[in-house]
Symmetry: C2
Subunit: 339 residues, 2 copies
């Protein structure tokens, strides 16, 4: 696949087309990009000779629309139309900034799941001290049994292999201690399963304070714990930013000169840790690539989400997931569960 075909929901997210259209335009060299939404609004934010394609969709979902109305009464919503392009095989990936629950429900309804999987998991690629790692679930599944956690481990391993080029990704379970008897009983049972899965390389429990220390390539957790962990990391980052900014306001003249001398290094670091560069959560397990951009993303953030979608489309993540969940190994295990 040389030029992945990406469909962008031009109306999702707080910024709507003012964010989505310029972001899509910035990446039109890397992919064929179709933007769905109110055509007039979309074109208003496009350049005169835009290489984007636009498809009109009259409806825009709001955060207060109930899931049942989203599923049953909004056939011409931009995000739904975007997903339908993927379901019809006319697009390789979908990017939207709309509400997560709405996107999940619609994506599951329109695209369906990879056979053998029940619900999507929200995954995010994170950057640690020695490279990237994948963390899931981050909020789609609040209560999980050990079988769901094993599914997450397998999906994360597929991603780390396909997107990270890691041959045998190390899988860890997020827990509150590293000893085998620590944490809820569910995690002990999940550890046993992961240890015995021949296609997974389980390395044990990991605690939040070691999350970034290159102990694992895939960190698995239920959606509640994952969401708490991810947002706590964000909270710590925003507290750190606050403290740094306040320290800058307190600098004396010579210290300000020092900061000025360092300005390029500070700018490099600021760019390196810019959270917008890490925007884009993936819905793994769907029979298609769907990337969720943060509702408050700006153009830079939305671009990162489109880039994530391009990367996954190039790797054919859904095809890899189908194979991972349909080989000889998993079939008997799934039968045995039913018994």
């Amino acid at each position: 696949m040389n030029r992945p075909r990406i469909v962008v929901d031009g109306m999702g997210g707080d910024g709507g087309p003012a964010v989505a259209v310029p972001a899509a335009e910035a990446l039109v060299g890397a992919a064929d990009i179709l933007v769905v939404g109110r055509e007039e609004d979309l074109r208003a934010h496009a350049s005169a000779h835009s290489r984007l394609r636009f498809v009109h969709a009259a409806e825009v979902l709001g955060p207060d629309d109930s899931l049942s109305s989203v599923l049953r009464q909004r056939p011409d919503a931009s995000v739904r139309r975007a997903l339908e392009f993927a379901a019809a095989g006319q697009a390789d990936a979908v990017v939207s900034g709309c509400d997560t629950a709405q996107l999940m429900a619609l994506a599951r309804h329109v695209l369906g799941m990879v056979p053998g999987l029940r619900r999507p998991a929200i995954a995010k690629v994170m950057r640690g001290v020695a490279g990237r790692f994948w963390m899931l679930d981050l909020g789609a599944n609040l209560e999980c049994d050990e079988s769901a956690l094993e599914d997450f481990a397998r999906m994360g391993s597929v991603a780390a292999r396909a997107l990270g080029g890691i041959d045998a990704p190390r899988v860890a379970l997020l827990n509150i201690g590293t000893e085998a008897n620590k944490g809820p009983a569910l995690l002990g049972r999940a550890a046993q399963r992961l240890e015995h899965a021949p296609d997974l390389r389980y390395v044990g429990f990991v605690e939040g304070n070691r999350l970034f220390d290159d102990l694992a390539d895939v960190v698995v957790c239920d959606g509640f714990a994952g969401n708490i962990a991810l947002k706590s990391v964000e909270g710590a980052a925003s507290m750190a930013t606050f403290l740094l900014r306040r320290a800058v306001t307190r600098l004396r003249p010579l210290q300000r000169l020092g900061l000025w001398l360092m300005r390029n290094a500070v700018a490099d670091l600021a760019e390196e840790i810019d959270p917008r560069r890490y925007n884009g959560a993936s819905l793994f397990g769907l029979d298609g690539v769907v990337v969720k951009s943060h509702g408050s993303a700006d153009r830079t953030g939305f671009e990162a989400a489109i880039e994530e979608a391009i990367e996954q489309a190039r790797s054919d993540m859904p095809g890899l997931l189908r194979r991972a969940f349909h080989d000889d190994r998993s079939a008997p295990r799934r039968e045995e569960e039913k018994a």
Copy 2:
């Protein structure tokens, strides 16, 4: 109470007496401090004219000692002897760096709980953008019902009032969204209870990314979520430190000069965010003040834990907790629960 009487377990923690004794000595001006442990080891780390008092205890607990052996077969363990001083009314607070589960089990056994409470909660004072807040439980109670969460809210409110001087502390529940229907059903039920408790000022759900934003003075969670959140914050802090250090190694000569000009500001900030200054988790709900120092704490960290104990002893936290859990309001509610 002018000079609180503090008893320090001199043998707990990785550093043992080499950490605990010098830390205690640094604070001997602020409190009467008794150090319990192998007297020879303790004295070896004390100054020649130390004003500390030493009490010999022959046994030292190790991390591999089972809870049942800790409870039944180690009568002369330093931490147990320390707790017994508090139980006998001869000390106002206990500080130990020993294993958390061992300390909790022993403290509950030796000191007992404030009537009406079942198990201690681990609480920590955190520093946000506008002041301190208290977060609990951080790992003592992995599964909690709404009644336990209400207990935590009440204990945290007592602490914020007594230690933080906050008249009507704002209580929030840690969750993965702020809307009423977000998160596990348990949190919805807990929210209802907190809203109807006349002695609590419940302000809603708080997410991890807003933890430090001065939205609440007391953040309540079950021990699993709290531990995940706290450690994820620590993980983010250590990742930030790693990135800053690496950025420093990459500085060019003029940028190094800039850093040198800023060295005092950098040192001030480093001191301000020094995690050792925030060492010391409290076991709330015990009929006595018990502060747990991190196992890996150094002298500066251990001092912070002793300071926390002094502050709680001065405020008579156990007395305040007894009153908070024994007034007219709580009695009927507790009866009704039994029915």
